[in-house]
Amino acid sequence: MTDRKPKNIFVQGAIAAGFVAASIQKHSTQTSIGAHSIFLGQVRNDVINNKKVVAIYYTTYEEMALEKMHQIRQDIFTKYPLTCMHVYHSLGKILAGEISLFVFTSSAHRKAAIDACEETVERIKAELPVWGKELFQDESYQWKENK
């Protein structure tokens, strides 16, 4: 861990498609990039015991999550020759069909970008202290479990 302040990855509410587009567009000046890999997590309208999930409400232990994300970022940059990496995770109520996670890696060649993106997503799901509460139509809820 360096002394550098961890970057914030959390945004209130859903991640808009236009935000993803703006992120992509910003990279057009970085002409050493040959490949971008993007992962988007979208809230599913799962049916659990005949009740439909209408939204997920995300909370986090922000201080710990940002430190952990900083460490994941450093590990990934050490392992893969990336040009850049961007991660955004939603907090609050995200409706079914909306995007709650956006991971974006770029590299000169595709292998590094693709592998780094996948590994970052896996580590985020396994290691970031974030919790999703699945909200049903009838205002009951259950806690999401990652597979």
Partner: protein
């Protein structure tokens, strides 16, 4: 000695609160014992403990300044 505990996710459903103040404990094992007495449902709950933002796996000393957190299984993304 008083220890402040912050609680997340489904553990809030178990303890009924997102913060707790527990007295007279100096290790995480002592803390867990007290919590289980106070909240019997914790015995069957899945959670990890972080002290000062690091997950702990063994019994760990805690002080007045320790930041202790109860973390149920993560479900981000």
């Amino acid at each position: 000695m008083k220890v402040n505990i912050i609680i997340f996710g489904q553990m809030v459903d178990v303890t009924g609160s997102s913060t707790l103040l527990i007295e007279n404990v100096s290790t995480t094992d002592e803390l867990v014992e007290k919590l289980h007495l106070q909240f019997p449902a914790m015995a069957t709950a899945k959670y990890a403990i972080a002290v000062d933002k690091k997950m702990i796996r063994e019994n760990t000393s805690i002080t007045n300044n320790s930041m202790v957190a109860l973390l149920p299984p993560f479900s981000g993304g």
